[in-house]
Amino acid sequence: MKTNAISSGQLVTLLFLSRIFNIFTYTPHSQTSVPGSVVLLAIPLAGIIMVALFFPAWHLIQKSKMGILEAAQTVHPFFGNLCAGIIGMVCLLMGAYTVSHFEFFMISTIYPQAESWIFVLLFLPVVAYAAYLGIEAVARMSVTVFIVVLGIILLVLVGLLPEINLVYVQSPFIGGWKMIVIGCIRQITNNMEILLFLLLVPTIRGNGKKAYIIWIILGAAMYEILSFFTLTSLGEYSATRLFPFYTAASVAKLSIFGRLDLLHIAVWVFVAFIRTTLYVYGAYLSFRILFPKVKKGWGIFLCAFLMTGVSMLNSLDMRYLSVYSRVLFNGVPFILVILLIPILTLLLGRKKWREKA
C-alpha cells in the first residue's frame, strides 16, 4: 500500500517555502545584495529567465521519461555516478548553508548568548527524521505550513500598511543597467530550488511543467510583495539592520497582537526546516545512485551527518559563512547542475532513448 507520489500542488508548496527562505534571511550590505528598488525590477526579469533556463532540463525529462539522475545513469554508469556525486554534493552544501544561515539569524537576533553549535545539533537530527519519513509526509506538512505562512505574512503586511511611504520606491535605473543585471543574476543563482524540482519531479502525480511555472510565478510574486513592503515601510532604516524583513515584522503592529516578530520566528523555523529536509532528501536520492546497497535510514543519517559537519565549520566564524555563500552562489554550481548536466545528458543519451522508444 506504499507509494512515494506527491501531487504537483504539494511540490509547488514545498519549493515555494524553500524559496522564500532567502527573502526571510536577506541581508543588505552582503556580497549578494543590490538596492531595494533594483530588486523590484530584477525579480520579475529573473523569473522570466528562470522559465527559459528550465527548458533543457525539462526536455531531458520528457525525452528520457525518467528523472535527471536515472537519465544520466542510462547514458553511462560512470557518467551517472559523476552526475549523482556532483548533485549530491551541491544538495549537501546547500543544506549546510541553510542551517548555518538559520543559526546565524538565531544568534544574531533571538539568542545572543547561546552557543551556535546547539542550533546545528538540534536542528539536523529532526530534519534527518523528517527526511527518513519520506517526501510524502514532508509534502503534506508543507501544504499546511504554506497556508500558515501565507496567513502570517498577510498579518505582517497588514500591520505594515500604515508605515508605507512610496517615496522610497526610486527608479531602478539610477545605478544603470549593470545593477539590474547583477540583481537578476543574484536572484537566479540563489534559486537552487530548481535542482530540487528536477530531483522530485519523477515522484509527482500531475503536470510538472505547469507546476514549475506556477512555482516561479508564486515565488516571484511573494518576493516582489515582501521586498516592496520592506522597502516602503523601513526605507533607509533597513540598510542598518541585518535582517530587514525580521525588522519589518517587529515594526508591524496589529492592535491586540503587539509585536509580530514571534510569528516571524515560528515561520522561519518551519521554512528552514522544510528547506533543509528537502536538501537532505535530495542528497540521499543522489547518493543512493552511488551506494545502492546502503539502507535508507543509514543513507539519510550519513547525509545529515556530513551536513552537520559542514554547518559546524561555518558556525565557527561568521566570515567562513560569508566566503562559503559567495562560492556557493557565484553561478558556477548553478550552471553546472541546472544547465550543464541536463544538456550533456540530453546530448549523450538522445540516441539511446530514441532507440528504446
Binding site: 506504499k2 504539494q10 514532508v138 503534506r140 506538512m141 514571534l262 520566528i265 529536509t277
Partner: protein, 519 residues
C-alpha cells in the same frame, strides 16, 4: 434455514481469509460417536470445573447429553423453549438421526442454532452461553443460542456524552450491540463478521462494515493484521489497537474508538470498518482521521453556524492545551519583550516570591494536576467530588499563598486543564506533548517549541492507517471532504456527495465498495 446457511457461508468466508492461531491440539480433536466417551473426555478436559453442567437425558428413547455453563444460560427461556418441548417430544421409532433431523428442521428450540465437530468448538460454544446437545451415535453436537448471562443494560455512554442524540451506548455483550447497529442501519449490506481471537481466551471479535461501501482491500488488510494477534487473553479492544495501527510509531493513533452505536454507524457508512470485542463496550474504528477527533455526534444535530463555532473552539482548545504552558515558559524565560508591560510586571512580582524557576513550577503543577485527575478517576464517586475540592484548594489558593507557585501559573494551568477536556479523545498525546513542550520551551525557547512542532507535525503527516493518510482531508487536500472540517456545512450540502474514505486524496485503497476481492 436459508438465512442460517447464508450466515454460515459468510462466517466461513471470513474464516477462510483468517489464519487461526496455534491452539492446543487436544481442542482441535474431533469428537467420537460414543456419548459416554465424549462426556468423560469433556469432564477431563474441563478438569471437572464447578460451572460445567452436564445432564444426561433420554429424549424419545434416544440418549442425549445437555451441556451448559452455570450462569450463562437464560433459565426461563431454557425451560420454556428448550426443556419442555424436548421433554414432551415423542418421535415414532426414534433414532439418533431422526432426532437430529427433528432438531434441525422441525423445531425452533432457539433462534441461533449451530452444529460443530470438535472439542474446541464445544468449549467455545458453552462458554459463550450456548446450550449444547450431544446425541448418541452422532459424532457432532448442536449448539443453541439461549444466552442469559448477567450483563449491564444499555445505558448512556460514560465517555461520549451528547446534548442531543440518542442516550444508548454499547454494552459488553456483542449480540445486543449487533442489535443496536442493525436497528439504525436496516440494510442487508450491513455485515457482521465474527471470529475468535486470543489463543486461550477465544474472545469473539466482530468486524462491522457495509459491503457495498467498504473497500475489499481495507477488509483484507484488517483481517490479515488481526490474524497476527498471538496474545493469550484478549480482554479489551485496546489490545488489538497496536496491531491495526500503522508505522511510523506515533503519539497519535490511526485507530479511533467509540462507545456510541450512532457514531459507529456514521463511520461505517463512510466505508470504514468497526471492530468490536466481546467484553468491552468500546469499538474500534479504522481508519481514523485526525480531524475526526474534533467531530462529535452533536455537531450534526446542531445548526451549522453553532456546530462550526464549537469546531473552532475545539481546535483552539487543542492548541491551548498543547502549547500554552510551553509557550508561557519559553516567552517568560527567553523572550519577555513579547509580553505587555503590565503582564510582565505581574510575572516578575510573582517570580520574585517563588523559589523555583518557571519550567520547574510548570512541571510541578501539572504533575500534581495529573495526580489529582487520576485519583479522581479511581476513587468511588462520592469521594471523587471531595478530590475536586481538595485539588482546587491545594493547587489554587494554598500553593500560591505559600509562595510555591505564582498566580499567573495557576491561570495557565486552569485554562490548559479545561482545554484538554474539550477534546477527550486526544487527552493522552496532549498530556505527553504538554510536558515535552514545557521541557523544550524552558530549555530552548520558541525555537525549540517550533522545532518540536515540526517533528510532531511531520510524524502526524506520515501516519497512513491502512492506506488512508490520517491528515486528510486537510492535507492531501480534498475539497469535498473539507466541508466537514473547518466548517460544518448544512445537510443540504452534505447530502450532495457521500464521503468514502477510499475516495479521499492520498488514499492507497484502489478498490471500490461492492467490488469482488480476488485476493
Amino acid at each position: 434455514m436459508k438465512l442460517f446457511h447464508f450466515i454460515k457461508s459468510k462466517f466461513d468466508a471470513g474464516l477462510s481469509a483468517y489464519e487461526p492461531p496455534q491452539e492446543d491440539p487436544a481442542l482441535s480433536k474431533k469428537m467420537g460417536s460414543d456419548l459416554m466417551e465424549r462426556v468423560i473426555t469433556i469432564r477431563q478436559m474441563f478438569s471437572d470445573s464447578g460451572d460445567l453442567l452436564i445432564r444426561e437425558v433420554t429424549i424419545s428413547g434416544v440418549k442425549c447429553a445437555v451441556c451448559m455453563c452455570e450462569g450463562m444460560v437464560n433459565t426461563n427461556v431454557f425451560s420454556k423453549m428448550f426443556a419442555q418441548p424436548l421433554t414432551n417430544l415423542t418421535l415414532e421409532q426414534a433414532t439418533p438421526q431422526k432426532l437430529l433431523e427433528w432438531v434441525r428442521s422441525q423445531s425452533l428450540l432457539a433462534p441461533d442454532q449451530k452444529e460443530f465437530y470438535t472439542y474446541g468448538e464445544f468449549f467455545r460454544f458453552i462458554m459463550s452461553g450456548f446450550v449444547v446437545i450431544l446425541i448418541e451415535q452422532l459424532d457432532m453436537g448442536i449448539a443453541m443460542g439461549i444466552q442469559g448471562f448477567a450483563g449491564r443494560g444499555v445505558d448512556e455512554p460514560a465517555t461520549e456524552v451528547n446534548v442531543r442524540g440518542s442516550r444508548e451506548g454499547f454494552i459488553e455483550m456483542l449480540r445486543p450491540n449487533m442489535a443496536l447497529l442493525r436497528r439504525r442501519i436496516k440494510s442487508p449490506h450491513l455485515i457482521f463478521e465474527l471470529f475468535p481471537i486470543g489463543t486461550k481466551s477465544k474472545t469473539d471479535v466482530m468486524l462491522v462494515y457495509m459491503d457495498d461501501v467498504v473497500s475489499p482491500e481495507l477488509l483484507r488488510e484488517i483481517r490479515y493484521r488481526l490474524s497476527k494477534v498471538k496474545i493469550d487473553v484478549v480482554l479489551e479492544t485496546g489490545y488489538l489497537q497496536p496491531f491495526l495501527d500503522s508505522k511510523p510509531v506515533s503519539l497519535f493513533s490511526g485507530v479511533g474508538t467509540t462507545e456510541r452505536p450512532d457514531t459507529l454507524c456514521a463511520k461505517i457508512a463512510e466505508g470504514r470498518v468497526g471492530v468490536m470485542l466481546d467484553g468491552t463496550p468500546f469499538a474500534l474504528v479504522v481508519p481514523y482521521l485526525f480531524t475526526e477527533n474534533f467531530q462529535s455526534f452533536d455537531d450534526y444535530s446542531h445548526r451549522p453556524y453553532f456546530a462550526t463555532f464549537i469546531r473552532w473552539l475545539k481546535y483552539t482548545a487543542f492548541l491551548f492545551s498543547v502549547l500554552l504552558p510551553g509557550l508561557y515558559v519559553a516567552i517568560a524565560s527567553f523572550h519577555p519583550e513579547l509580553f505587555p508591560s503590565s503582564l510582565l510586571f505581574s510575572l516578575v512580582i510573582s517570580e520574585e516570591n517563588t523559589p523555583f524557576p518557571l519550567m520547574l513550577e510548570a512541571f510541578i503543577i501539572f504533575f500534581i494536576f495529573e495526580m489529582m485527575r487520576e485519583a479522581g478517576l479511581r476513587l468511588p464517586r462520592p469521594v471523587g467530588h471531595a478530590v475536586g475540592i481538595v485539588g482546587a484548594l491545594v493547587i489554587g489558593d494554598a500553593a500560591v499563598t505559600a509562595g510555591i507557585i505564582g498566580a499567573p501559573m495557576v491561570m495557565v494551568v486552569a485554562l490548559t486543564a479545561i482545554s484538554s477536556f474539550v477534546v477527550p479523545s486526544l487527552y493522552e498525546p496532549v498530556t505527553f506533548l504538554r510536558f515535552a513542550f514545557i521541557l523544550i520551551g524552558g530549555i530552548f525557547g520558541i525555537f525549540g517549541i517550533t522545532l518540536g512542532l515540526c517533528a510532531v507535525f511531520v510524524n502526524l503527516c506520515a501516519i497512513n492507517p491502512l492506506g488512508v493518510p490520517t491528515t486528510t482531508p486537510a492535507t492531501p487536500f480534498s475539497s469535498y471532504a473539507m466541508r466537514d472540517v473547518l466548517f460544518r456545512w448544512g445537510w443540504r450540502t452534505l447530502q450532495k456527495e457521500d464521503l468514502r474514505v477510499q475516495d479521499l486524496k492520498g488514499s492507497n485503497l484502489h478498490m471500490r465498495g461492492g467490488e469482488k476481492d480476488e485476493n
